[in-house]
């Protein structure tokens, strides 16, 4: 499977501009709602028409504004899983799948196969309304594969499922889709990380980053991307000399390798260490507020030497939080140099 997309489209609030290629891999598009993720999928499927550009799927030109090509969706062989699954409400499970099967002699065998793969046996004659969310999603997936797509587009596939069911489907989805590669849209970072090799970050119609999931999360190209990817602690910073930067708002100097110019520094809440003994980049701190979860706690703390009231966040596990709370010793927040994100 090879997909090349290079499109532009004027939307009411911004211009969508997307340019990427994918080959034999699964990709997630991450971004806040209304960032143009779904429109990108719809352009690939042919439901929406880009203003300019080119879309090529496995050497078939699906769209080319210069040559006036715009293949209608029914001929694109692009599978699309809608957020609400969009099952045909007046058809049974079998009818929903059957209508997508190409008229072949072995259509019956294929139907039986799909029913088995997606564990829909016993539900063949049920109408969508009677099905649970997970069953509806399996019917929609089976129906999509019945049409033999060359690529699969998933639009927020798990947003309508809750808790355990969501995890189960996340586990099973790659297996259910078999050899089909997918391009998924989501605003859930864990979902994107779990289910794709590469991640694209979008905001207001622009691609901010597109790389392997590790690179995108560990070394985001700019502050905007890092913030979209959950960076909570960030501030302006300047390099004062080799290996040292100054962060005025946090009121501290941080040890940080390299000598290139710096405009901002950031660190993820999960990377800040809370300890009783000072190490490198450690500063006395005071916990101001706490959000307790079942297995972890988010500490909102203030550096003691800092003039302004700026709260930083650190996430520690529950046991550690209990220790910190009981100990009367002074507490240090440590910013490990290798975990600092520099922009």
């Amino acid at each position: 499977m090879r997909l090349k997309v290079n499109i532009e489209k004027k939307l009411t609030r911004f211009n969508l501009k997307v340019h990427f290629e994918m080959e034999q891999e699964n990709i997630s598009i991450l971004g806040p709602s209304g960032s143009g993720k779904s429109v990108t999928l719809k352009c690939i499927a042919g439901i929406e028409k880009p203003d300019r550009g080119r879309i090529v799927l496995n050497d078939r030109v699906l769209f080319d504004s210069e040559r006036g090509i715009n293949i209608p969706p029914e001929q694109r062989r692009v599978g699309y899983l809608f957020q609400n699954y969009a099952l045909f409400p007046h058809m049974t499970v079998t009818e929903n799948i059957g209508i997508a099967l190409p008229p072949h002699a072995n259509a019956k065998a294929r139907m039986a196969e799909l029913i088995e793969i997606f564990q829909l046996d016993g539900l063949e004659d049920s109408y969508p309304k009677r099905l649970s969310g997970g069953e509806q999603q399996r019917v929609a997936l089976a129906r999509m594969l019945a049409a033999n797509p060359e690529i699969v587009l998933l639009d927020e596939p798990f947003s309508a499922l809750d808790g355990i069911l969501r995890e189960q489907m996340q586990l099973r989805l790659p297996c259910l889709l078999g050899d089909n590669n997918y391009l998924m849209v989501t605003h859930d970072m864990d979902e994107a990380y779990r289910l794709s090799e590469k991640i694209m970050v979008m905001n207001s119609g622009c691609m901010l980053a597109f790389d392997t999931r590790e690179k995108v999360f560990d070394a985001p190209p700019d502050l905007m991307t890092a913030r979209l990817l959950g960076l909570r602690n960030y501030s302006e910073a300047t390099r004062v000399r080799e290996n040292v930067i100054m962060v005025p708002k946090w009121g501290c100097y941080l040890e940080c390798g390299g000598k290139e110019r710096v405009s901002h520094v950031g660190i993820r809440p999960q990377h800040i260490l809370m300890s009783e003994s000072p190490e490198v980049n450690s500063f006395g701190c005071e916990v101001v507020q706490v959000l307790e979860d079942r297995f972890s706690a988010t500490l909102f703390f203030r550096l003691l030497n800092q003039a302004k009231e700026i709260l930083l966040q650190a996430v520690v596990d529950k046991a550690r939080w209990e220790q910190i709370r009981k100990a009367s010793q002074s507490l240090y927040a440590c910013f490990p140099p290798e975990k600092l994100l520099i922009f």
Partner: protein, 228 residues
């Protein structure tokens, strides 16, 4: 009432109403589909145009139809050249009946199509279904309750049509005299007994169409929502 009661208005009314309803059914659905595929601007203009007959008084509508089909208009000239006499013929009752009922069918059909979840149509296209197949297998069944309601409304409206019919079809017994016309002219001639018979009949027909509607609507609801 020595001579047999003249039943011709009943047959004329039924014939006119049936033919008009069938025509309006297909025309309303077709035009609704066409208008929905247009740009928002064209949609608004045409929507107003097609709704206009609904808000005009039937006599005014009849007056315009008379102008349009009369000998002095280009269309009237063409009809004359083809040796087709439309004004004051039975066909005129069908025309007036259709024109007054068309907006009802058009609007309910459009409403019925528009309430269908957009993603259901989109997904059908990505699954490779052709447009005719999407129309017959998905659009029609899902909009059935609305289409049925529109048909019954059109039927009732045509059955009761008086003003426009009188203007372009006149009141020619055994030819263009429908039940509403028969009622009016019976009352005008002081024949209350005949008028009453027709009133009773038309009430019966209207009641029947109401019963039919409620039967159909629950049936078509269950088809559209998959409860059958």
């Amino acid at each position: 009432m020595a001579m047999a009661f003249d039943l011709s208005p009943l047959w004329i009314s039924l014939k006119t109403t049936l033919v008009s309803t069938v025509m309006v059914f297909f025309l309303g659905i077709g035009v609704a589909q066409w208008v929905m595929s247009l740009s928002p601007r064209a949609k608004n203009v045409l929507d107003a145009l097609f709704t206009f007959p609904m808000i005009l008084p039937p006599t005014v509508l009849g007056f315009f139809l008379l102008l349009l089909l009369g000998n002095s208009s280009p269309l009237g000239q063409l009809l004359k050249a083809l040796d087709l006499k439309v004004i004051f013929s039975w066909a005129a009752t069908v025309i007036s009946g259709s024109v007054v009922a068309f907006p009802l069918m058009y609007r309910t059909a459009r409403g019925a199509f528009e309430q269908i979840d957009r993603s259901v149509i989109d997904v059908a296209r990505t699954l490779g279904l052709s447009r005719p197949k999407i129309f017959t297998k998905i659009l029609l069944p899902l909009s059935l309750p609305g289409l049925m309601a529109g048909t019954i409304l059109s039927f009732s409206r045509t059955l009761g049509e008086f003003g426009a019919t009188l203007m372009i079809a006149g009141n020619i017994p055994k030819k263009t005299q429908t039940i509403p016309l028969a009622i009016f002219f019976a009352v005008e001639g002081g024949d209350m007994k005949t008028a009453l018979i027709w009133v009773a009949l038309i009430m019966l027909l209207s009641l029947l169409s109401m019963v039919l509607q409620s039967l159909w609507s629950s049936r078509s609801q269950s088809i559209a929502s998959g409860r059958s």
